[in-house]
Amino acid sequence: MSNESFEPRLVGFLCNWCSYTGADLAGTSRMSYAPNLRIIRVMCSGRVDPQFVLKAFKEGADGVLISGCHPGDCHYQEGNYKALRRHRLLSKMLEQMGIEKERFRLEWVSAAEGEKFQRVCNEFTDEMKKLGPLNLNGGKKNEQ
């Protein structure tokens, strides 16, 4: 798959109170942005388990995004801080597993930042295009 026609497949875990609403705002404000990001809604960015991230990469994701409320705004007070800590440690381990740090991204998008969500999606997609496919296991689904 040549670079230009390569469409990266991205998975985004969005927190229900800020990022998901922000994405919704982007939609209702008729903002257009790269469709590559497939969204999974979770109650709080703190809910995102590192296993989900690994699972996403395993299933063929070229990039995984976690998006939560700005620090201090979390509906559950501290959920996003936990996400921040896990993101830092997990990105270090992913590098050890051969997965570039850029493929795993953490963003703060509040309910009012529709255009920030748009920008994040476009940027992430372009970056993944440049980086090329992860094809973790030679592009094949894993055996057995």
Partner: protein, 326 residues
């Protein structure tokens, strides 16, 4: 079946031999085992050959205990053979159950391993760059070696496994219970791990010493701290995989004043022991300030190696992504 005693087979793949010794470790209990069963295949102890197994009828072996991870084609063939020949297959020990220490090779592939082991390692003097080949000719004779896979596989990634006996070297009592359970036929549902499902903290004496709402303010290596024999390792800032590792080992390492490394593997509900422990460890870091977090994570030198010490092959990603890997 010549006599009514059930037939038992032992086999070892990419193994350090520790599990074999664990069987011998049964000491006088071994007599009970030998009297109860008929060991028909035990390459490390008895001189059985492959063709003897091939000669057996399918399913004639009541249970075969296979330890060690699958690294060579020969091992893959043998285990597949034993699967055919046995009623029950039990993954004996961490290597067959999770991939074990040999599994850590999944950070590399055949090429990088051979380069280093036979060419680049400082102690090697191999000007002719002789490297083991699957087919080679020596003194005019043809020599065959099994194929060296790029990735190490746990047993259940190669054949269907009935039960798992965890532990890097399963403890004596666990083996005895398993054998008795099998003999008496009182077995849990297929695929179960023959050890309690609760994590090590449940039986660890040090759990009470945990301070209320404890968090990690700094992380240290075991040799950096004068370990207090009564206090929980995590409370002393040392990484201990106890919370993410199944109990039942009788806290062998804890009583030796060393933190748990997770050899019993995760509990049933956990898909990836390393990731799960990483999540727990990251969550209880004290500070919310980014720079502080990075500084703290700096002190965890090798997260993958530490968290996947025994379970890399059975992790979700299984191996490090390398360019040309099969």
């Amino acid at each position: 079946m010549s006599n009514d005693k059930p037939k038992v087979a032992f086999y070892w793949c990419a193994s350090c031999g520790g599990c074999e010794e664990a069987v011998v470790d049964l000491a006088e209990d071994i007599l009970k085992v030998t009297s109860a069963v008929d060991i028909v295949f035990w390459p490390v102890a008895l001189d059985f050959k492959r063709k003897d197994v091939e000669a057996m009828e399918d399913g004639s072996i009541a249970v075969s205990f296979i330890n060690g991870a699958v690294r060579l084609s020969e091992q893959e063939e043998m285990v597949k053979l034993l699967r055919k020949k046995s009623g029950l297959v039990v993954a004996f020990g961490s290597c067959s159950h999770l991939g074990g220490i040999p599994g850590l090779a999944n950070f590399w592939n055949k090429q990088t391993i051979f380069d280093y082991a036979y060419l680049k390692s400082p102690s090697t003097n191999n000007p002719d760059k002789i490297v083991p080949l699957e087919k080679s000719e020596v003194d005019g004779k043809e020599l065959e070696l099994p194929e060296f896979y790029d990735t190490v596989y746990s047993l259940d990634q190669v054949i269907d496994v009935d039960y798992y006996l965890p532990g890097c070297a399963p403890p004596k009592d666990l083996i005895v219970n398993a054998v008795n359970a099998i003999l008496e036929g009182k077995l849990p549902p297929k695929g179960a791990v023959l050890s309690p499902n609760k994590s090590l903290c449940d039986e660890c004496d040090r759990n009470e010493s945990k301070p209320e709402k404890f968090t990690m303010t700094e992380i240290k290596r075991p040799w950096e701290v004068e370990l207090d024999p009564e206090k929980c390792f995590l409370a002393q800032g040392v990484i201990c995989m106890g919370p993410a590792t199944r109990g039942g080992c009788g806290q062998r390492c804890i009583t030796a004043n060393m933190p748990c490394r997770g050899c019993f593997g995760p509990s049933d509900q956990v898909f990836d022991q390393g990731a799960k422990f990483l999540s727990a460890m990251a969550s209880i870091i004290e500070t919310n300030d980014e720079k502080q977090i990075d500084k703290l994570i700096e002190t965890i030198v090798d997260p993958a190696g530490t968290f996947y010490r025994f379970s890399l092959p059975t992790s979700i990603l299984r191996r490090k992504k390398m360019e040309a890997t099969k």
